[in-house]
């Protein structure tokens, strides 16, 4: 590769700006070796296109088509239930987990609860659905993390970014939106090294500021606090002290 190759290739590909193009054409007119190199590079275009076309013909399309999941229209279940309802499915995990049927189960439970005050019960019931396999497969890159957090942050009125929701010993997997009654409910899902999920839930419920409190519900620990019109809840199968410690870390940053 010569120092001029990049410009020569860009000229061949018609991607040079006018000034550079004119300058290079002038040089080509005066430099036979450059012209020769131009020709060598130009002659690679057609074999490349032909070769990639040949590769395309070998794609196992029938096998790939057979592996496509069945096409099922979206069901509008969420409107039937007054408790937690799907508002926006911002992450694939929600679809995989919920649309397959869990949403019907969860939403019916939450419907029976009345859906007014006890959102922690709703979240706890919901969290019982998650296993070590639910979120583990998700490993978004930094850009995807930022995009998911930004989208959720916009819905709940919080500034969310990878650096301010990072937690020690936990890996961010996904962020998505639910709603509780009429209040947007953002969920940020982490996993510990074993894959066990820990959630940070952010409910934009206009609650007055309140310090961190905690409780145990079965094998789940919950720690929550309210600030700036939002209630935040950390929940997972972790010791209660750990939930409180995580909540206190996040309280300073979110």
């Amino acid at each position: 590769m010569t120092a001029d190759d990049a410009e020569l290739v860009a000229l061949i590909d018609n991607e040079l700006d006018e000034g550079s193009r004119a300058a290079l054409l002038t040089r080509l007119g005066a430099d036979e070796r450059l012209r020769q190199r131009y020709e060598e590079l130009r002659e690679t275009a057609s074999p490349l296109a032909t070769s990639f076309d040949a590769l395309l013909g070998q794609a196992p399309v029938a096998r790939l088509r057979a592996a496509l999941p069945p096409d099922e229209p979206l069901r509008q279940r969420s409107r039937r239930f007054p408790g937690i309802a799907l508002r926006a499915l911002a992450a694939g995990v929600v679809i995989g987990l919920l649309v397959a049927g869990a949403v019907a189960w969860a939403a019916s439970i939450f419907g029976l609860l009345g859906g007014k005050e006890d959102w922690r019960t709703a979240i706890a019931e919901y969290t019982h659905l998650y296993t070590n396999e639910t979120f583990s497969p998700f490993n978004p890159d930094a850009a995807m993390q930022a995009a998911e957090l930004s989208a959720v942050g916009a819905k709940v009125g919080a500034s969310l970014a990878p650096e301010n929701v990072a937690l020690p010993g936990l890996r961010f997997t996904t962020a998505f939106m639910l709603s509780y009654g009429d209040a947007p409910l953002g969920v940020i899902a982490y996993v510990d090294p074993s894959g066990a999920p820990v959630l940070l839930c952010i409910l934009a419920n206009r609650a007055p500021d309140a310090p961190t409190r905690s409780e145990r519900r079965g094998d789940l620990s919950l720690a929550w606090w309210s600030r700036s019109g939002r209630t935040q809840l950390v929940i997972g199968r972790i010791p209660e002290e750990k939930a409180i410690a995580l909540a206190q870390m996040l309280e300073k940053r979110v």
Partner: protein, 163 residues
């Protein structure tokens, strides 16, 4: 998820399968990995159809998903398993049973492409076969246009040596 997004993504999957597979082969240089990569891409696309903006290009959105899964999930897994990434240039060949002249040439070119670094292989495919402009390739791959230029030039210089 809007039904419009879901329908558009769904409709775009099947026509894109062969091109997704080709992109996957060029990235992974392993045909078994390519099959898995395409299947994972289709599943992820269906799961995340709400993120697709109706009216934009489904194929390029699918390409971006495939690339993300390759970089974040499958490549690192294959490296950990010690397979697939070295001495795999022969995955980029044409069907040996049809060795008419064009395919012999194509096989030689694809082998040469297969020996290039991943970033060059990918850039060459996107620009010369998928019709990305330099600016579009730069945006898709998250690199400056100058990097696209040097990757293409390096790739074509290597192919020029085949003569």
């Amino acid at each position: 998820m809007s039904e419009a997004s879901r329908r558009e993504v769904r409709a775009g999957l099947e026509p894109s399968l062969a091109r997704l597979w080709r992109y996957a082969v060029v990235l992974s240089r392993a045909r078994d990995a390519a099959d898995d990569l395409v299947q994972a891409t289709c599943l992820r696309a269906i799961e995340r159809a709400d993120q697709f903006v109706p009216g934009t290009r489904v194929d390029r959105w699918l390409f971006a998903i495939l690339r993300s899964i390759w970089l974040n999930e499958i490549r690192s897994q294959r490296i950990r398993q010690g397979g697939g990434l070295v001495d795999a240039a022969d995955a980029l060949t044409t069907d040996g049973e049809r060795e008419i002249e064009v395919n012999i040439t194509a096989s030689a070119v694809l082998r040469a492409v297969g020996r290039l670094p991943e970033a060059q292989r990918e850039t060459i495919l996107l620009v010369y076969s998928e019709g990305y402009s330099y600016a579009e390739a730069a945006a898709a791959l998250g690199v400056p246009i100058g990097t696209i230029m040097s990757r293409l030039a390096a790739g074509r210089a290597a192919l020029a040596k085949l003569k």
